[in-house]
């Protein structure tokens, strides 16, 4: 597809369960970002990948959150032992080399019951 693709679009899970959220960036974009957006708030930075490596993971709230990008394209955000406070929309964005424009996906809405 032409844009950033995120799956699933909606995920409902129970407290304590494990969740994976997937992001397929725009082809050729080397930079990939994960943000989290709670209701009524702006997006909050989680982690940034340049290629396969996490260049900045300072926004991950705790060690229950982990993200990978093994081949420098698709990325997976993994959340262990989910808590109700993890409920939010998780946004992925990608960026072409030498440009400042982030292209966002539509997000994965996570609800933890």
């Amino acid at each position: 597809g032409a844009g950033v693709s995120q799956t699933p679009s909606n995920k409902v899970t129970e407290k304590g369960k494990y969740v994976e959220l997937r992001c397929d960036p725009i082809s050729g974009h080397t930079a990939l970002y994960w943000y989290r957006q709670s209701l009524g708030q702006g997006p909050e930075f989680l982690i940034y990948f340049q290629g396969t490596g996490a260049a900045d993971d300072s926004g991950l709230p705790n060690d229950r959150f982990f993200a990978v990008r093994p081949e420098g394209s698709v990325s997976t955000l993994k959340i262990q032992r989910t808590e109700r406070g993890d409920s939010a929309v998780y946004l992925c964005a990608s960026r072409a080399q030498n440009t400042g424009e982030l292209f966002f996906g539509e997000g994965s809405r996570l609800t933890v019951l």
């Binding site: 940034y48 900045d56 424009e101 966002f104």
Partner: protein
């Protein structure tokens, strides 16, 4: 601590009624200021980047300006399709590439 504050939180306009949205920032050093538009259930969509005080950019009915402490998004003769949440974000000098700190946004409603 780096902060981005947007005002008002919500704004209702009649079609054709021009107005401005404000984004004030307190940062250790500004590399760039970004404006995004977000429709309900969608991801943010890039509008503008401003890098230095005095810079202005325009796109259709929107014009963004930047000073050393704030940015304005001016909307001229808005239409109902301009209704959306407008997000402001800053990139900090010395920060990782295009890691953005966002404000909470301004929800704009334009009535026909």
């Amino acid at each position: 601590e780096d902060q981005v504050t947007q005002s008002p939180e919500a704004l209702r306009l009649q079609e054709g009624e021009s107005s401005s949205l404000n984004c004030s920032y307190t940062v250790s050093g500004l590399r760039g200021l970004f404006w995004y538009r977000q429709d309900p259930g969608k991801g943010p969509e890039f509008l503008f980047t401003l890098y230095s005080a005095g810079e202005e950019k325009e796109k259709e009915r929107l014009k963004a300006t930047l000073t050393k402490k704030e940015s304005f998004l001016h909307i001229t003769a808005p239409k109902p399709e301009d209704s959306a949440t407008y997000l402001c974000a800053v990139q900090i000098l010395g920060g990782s590439n295009y890691k953005l700190t966002f404000g909470k946004g301004t929800l704009l409603t334009v009535n026909p």
